[in-house]
Structures are given as C-alpha cells and as structure tokens.
C-alpha cells in the first residue's frame, strides 16, 4: 500500500490502516525521539503522542511524493520533542574532558564499524542544547537561522553549540576507535 492510499484509509478511521502506519513508522519515529530526548521512556511516550496526533490530523496531510508521509510525521515529532526539551531548563553541563581544538573527522569505514547503540548513547550524553542543535542541523537538515527561531537562541549560539557537539562526539568516536585497535 503506498503512502497516499495509507493516508486515505487512515483518514477513514480504518483500524487496519492505522495499525499499518504504526508498524511502518513507529520504529523510525521512536529513534528520532531517542535522538532528541536521550531518554528511552520519554522517547517511547513522545513517539506514541506523535503517532496519535498524526492520525487525528491525517485529513490535513497532502501527498507530495515518496517519503512525504514520514517527513510530515517527523516534523510533528521534532516540534513535540523541542517543546518537551524547552520545558526543561537548558542547563550548562560541564564537560568531563577538555575540548580539543582540532580533531580530524573519522573515516567512513571506521564510522560504519561503530554500533548504532553506541552512537545513540553518545548523542544522549550531549547537553540538551547541543544534542538538539546537532539533531536539527546535522541529522535533520535545519539551518542555523531556523534553529535559532525554534529554540529562541541566536544564530551564533546555534553555530557554537553545534561546533561543541561535534567536538564532543568526535572525541568519543576517537576514543572508541582507539580502544578497538588495542
């Protein structure tokens, strides 16, 4: 069943179609929520909220091409995640290691050898602000200007937070790869 048909059946409150939507997208949306929130239980809850709202508003979805349904659902999830994060205070999290000025980018084959759960865990270690900016910019393609508007920070603060998030992640990756070699 293509996305357009799936959305049409869901708008008719077809239970089979709704269950199909869950089976298709729940895991991806859950991963997206874990990326943003860092916590598994909160991510599960946010995923369920996102899918329920998407089904309630499925009448407003407009098919614009392959993958647009997931894009539409993802946008709902991202906005919900940001609202959820904003409810917390954006504390300053002191780094446990010195941030190096110049860390080379890891190689592609090295990156492929890293387990996904490790990546999820390192992203979760980032502070709320750095994690949110990293997800929005590096993984979800938002510009710094858009990120600034969404989070209520300046563009410069978004750029700075992203730089620090990258350095922190690269340091983690470098340490892991070094341990693997030994």
């Amino acid at each position: 069943m293509d996305e357009q048909a799936l959305a049409r059946y869901c708008s008719q409150r077809d239970r089979m179609a709704e269950e199909e939507l869950y089976r298709r997208y729940a895991a991806r949306v859950n991963m997206l929520c874990r990326r943003y929130l860092g916590d598994g239980d909160e991510a599960d809850d946010l995923m369920l909220e996102t899918l329920v709202q998407a089904l309630k508003k499925i009448d407003t979805y407009k098919f614009t091409g392959k993958g647009s349904l997931y894009g539409w659902i993802s946008r709902i999830a991202v906005n919900k995640a940001i609202n959820h994060i904003k409810r917390r205070r954006l504390h300053v999290v002191p780094l446990n290691f010195p941030a190096k000025d110049d860390i080379p980018d890891p190689a592609d084959d090295a990156m492929e050898s890293i387990p996904e759960e490790k990546l999820i865990g390192w992203i979760a270690e980032l502070s709320d602000l750095r994690r949110t900016v990293f997800n929005l910019h590096s993984l979800d393609g938002y510009s710094h200007k858009e990120i600034g508007r969404m989070l209520g920070i300046s563009e410069r603060a978004s750029i700075s937070a992203l730089e620090k998030a990258r350095k922190q992640l690269k340091e983690r990756i470098r340490q892991y790869l070094k341990e693997q070699e030994t």
């Binding site: 869950y22 895991a27 599960d44 300053v92 999820i120 602000l129 750095r130 938002y142 858009e146 920070i153």
Partner: protein, 430 residues
C-alpha cells in the same frame, strides 16, 4: 563523499529496531481514548460571557466607588463657614422695660474696662400676662435674642448668669486650626473595596486560557499546553513590542498646598509578537506566529507639584519610582500548518523590576475626594543583562535575579507610556 554525520544519520535510520509489544498496545489504547468523546477533556477557558462581564467589573467598581464617595457626607466639615442653627423655641419672657444695672463706678479706665456690663434688653412682645412686680432683671434672664413675634414661655428660659456684652452673631467663623491629615472611614472603605475588586478582576485575567498537564488524554482539539520553564526571545526581524498603557487605582496625600504624594496600584500588560516561516524536509513551508503576553502589578510612589488647579481640574508634574512584579507571562504559538497544534506555554516570570518615573498629569475631579487622572510618563529601568555564551558555547541561563522577560520595557529602557485610572484624594484639600 559522505560526512561522518550523514553516516550517523543513515545508520540510525537503518536501525531495524523491534519495539516492545506493550508499546503497540499502549498505542491502540491512546488511539481509542483520543477518539472517544467521553475521554476528551474540555479546555479550561472561561465561558464567552465571562470575559465581557469581567472587563466591565473594573469600570463598574470605579463607578460604584465614585457614587459612594460622592453621596457620602463627611462627618467633619472640611472648610468653609457654617451658619449656626437658631434655636426654634423662644426664650423666657422678659418685661417690656428692664432697667439696666447701673454700671459700677470706677476711678480708672482699666477697672471700668474689666467691669462686667449688663446689656440693655430689647423690649419683647409678650402674649401671656406680665408680671409687673418683677421689674428687676432675673438671673435667669435669657441672653438677648433678636426681637421676633411668637409665644414666649417661662419654661423655655435659657439661663445665662453673664449675659454677653453684645448680640451674638449667628455666624460661626471658620476654624483657623489646620486639620491633620487622617484617613477617614469612607475613603478607607472605598480604597479597600475598590482595591479588592480590582485585584479580583485581575486574577481572572491571569488564569484564563491555560490548562495543566501534557499527557495525551488531556489533549483537546485546539490547545496543548506545557508547564512553566520556557523562555522566549524575539530575535526575528519581524518581531514587534507594543507600547504600553497602564491602568491603576491611586491615592493622593497632600503634604503642602501644592505638593502631594501619590501612590497606589498599577496594572500593566506588555504584548510582543513575532512571525516567521518554517520549511523543512522539502515540504511546503508554514508560518509560525508567536504572541507573548506579560502582566505586571506595580506600586508607584511619586511626589507631585501642582502647576495649576481649580475645583474641576488639577494639572501637575512629578517624579518618583516604581516597583513592578510579574504576575503572569505566557506565549501563544500558532502554526498555519493544520498538522501542528497551536499551543500556549507559560513563561518564566521575572522578579521585581524597578524604574524611575517622571510624569505630568491632568486630574479631572468628580468631587473633593475622587477624580480621574491621565498621566503621560517617562520611565527608565535598568537594562537587563544579556544572555551570554559560556566557554563551551552554550547559552547560560541566568539566575533568577538577572532574568528578564523580553518586552517593550527591555527593548526601550527609556520608555514613554500613558497611565490612567482613578485617584482618591485623602486628607485636607488645600
């Protein structure tokens, strides 16, 4: 060539994670709950008829207060002269002719001056049989009164062992003693009643339109709320802070003929808006509109100098300071994309905000005690510390004392505003 970040993205999206079965069960439960009208929780918003009623409360309270003070007669006359009421009953009868006592002979003028004299009595017409034996003035003779027709009775004698030298004037002169400034019962009751009604009306405005809780069972069609903790910045080019109008209940305490202290309660409401486009995933863009509403209750204290005044108008200038406290702040976010819910978020309130005031004013007096004032004001408040980046580039959330809501006041430390409201004049009216 892929970046390491894009590799992360691909790896995470390829995860074929199997979600626990209980999540699917929970999903179906929430789906059923969201579609059931019995579970839906209505938004906690005041009924439509309450808002106009509440907005009418403040002017109604003011009108009631004005009527009360206008109609209430003060227990002590403030100023002016008073004509003494003449006793309705006539005094004791006296003979047609009364001999005056011979003045005591004295050798010197001083003793003559201090010698009490007996006034000549004017003849009084008597209707009852007169007693001719009594030719001497009695000690019970009443003091002199203007001759007038009417029955005279012995029982109405007003004894005065020392008749006054001259006819007493019916006019009681104005007291020259300055009355102390003191709070009378009527103005005090008016202040308490009016202040209480104003505070009650204000709390209704603060509590409207919000709903606690964010779980899915509490979602309603158009509103989703989150609890306090958020803060908002207005960095968009199309943001706008609206100028301010204040409303208040004020008291004026005169301390000199042209000088008075004014204080009271002032309510101010700062509104800021912004709008920007959002676009992502290559899908059609949508507009995000934000509206921030911040409410403050303040106590100004000012010394005013009257430039000119009459019974109806008072024109004055003054200076002082004010302390404002944030009693409510929220941001309303609306999306043009129907897939996204509008939301109302409570914002972190800032604490006390102190400012200096310079004002001119016109007061229209309804009576001696109450009036309506209109005051253009220039205020200055210390600009807040700007959020700064720490060494690692994160935004540092400021401590409570540093945090300030972004409003017209933070954007314009020197701020022009107009204050209006009701003023109660206490104490002596110069």
């Amino acid at each position: 060539m892929k970046t390491w970040e894009s590799i992360i993205k691909d790896k995470l999206e390829r995860i074929d994670a199997t979600l626990p079965e209980n999540l699917f069960t929970e999903f179906l439960t929430r789906l059923d709950a969201s579609g059931s009208p019995a579970v839906a929780v209505p938004a906690v918003r005041p009924a439509a008829w309450r808002r106009p009623l509440l907005r009418a409360l403040v002017p109604a309270a003011a009108a009631g207060l004005a009527a009360f003070l206008f109609l209430h007669k003060p227990s002590v006359p403030g100023d002016g002269i008073q004509v003494a009421q003449q006793p309705p009953a006539p005094v004791a009868a006296v003979a047609d002719t009364v001999k005056s006592e011979e003045p005591l002979q004295s050798d010197n003028l001083v003793s003559q001056a201090i010698t009490p004299k007996v006034a000549n009595h004017y003849p009084v017409h008597v209707t009852e049989p007169e007693t001719t034996d009594n030719t001497q003035p009695s000690e019970d003779t009443a003091e002199v009164i203007p001759a007038e027709e009417g029955s005279i009775s012995e029982t109405d004698v007003v004894s005065d062992p020392e008749p006054s030298v001259s006819a007493p004037s019916p006019v009681i002169p104005k007291s020259t003693a300055a009355k102390p400034v003191e709070l009378k019962v009527a103005p005090a009751a008016g202040i308490v009643t009016g202040g209480g009604l104003l505070a009650a009306a204000l709390t209704q405005f603060i509590g409207s339109g919000t709903q606690a809780g964010t779980n899915s069972a509490s979602m309603v069609n158009n509103l989703e709320t989150s609890y306090s903790g958020s803060f908002a910045t207005f960095t968009d080019e199309d943001s706008h802070h609206f100028p301010l109008f204040k409303e208040g209940l004020s008291v004026g305490i005169p301390v000199a003929p042209r000088l008075k202290i004014t204080t009271g309660l002032e309510y101010s409401r700062y509104i800021s808006t912004s709008s920007h486009m959002m676009d992502s995933f290559g899908v059609h863009g949508f507009q995000v509109e934000r509206k921030q509403v911040a409410q403050y209750l303040g106590i100004p204290v000012r010394l005013d100098w009257s430039l000119a005044k009459n019974r109806l108008l008072d024109v004055y200038v003054g200076g002082g300071a004010a302390a404002d406290y944030c009693i409510g702040a929220k941001i309303i976010i609306k999306y043009t994309d129907p897939a996204l819910k509008d939301s109302i978020q409570e914002l972190r309130r800032d604490g006390f905000v102190f400012s200096l005031i310079g004002a001119g004013g016109i007061q229209l007096n309804f009576n001696k005690r109450i009036g309506l004032y209109l005051e253009p004001e220039l205020t200055w408040s210390k600009p807040p510390k700007k959020a700064h980046l720490d060494f690692y580039g994160d935004i540092v959330i400021m401590e409570e004392g540093d945090y300030r809501l972004e409003t017209y006041r933070t954007a314009h430390p020197f701020m022009f505003t107009v204050a209006t409201g009701l003023r109660i004049n206490l104490g002596k009216r110069y």
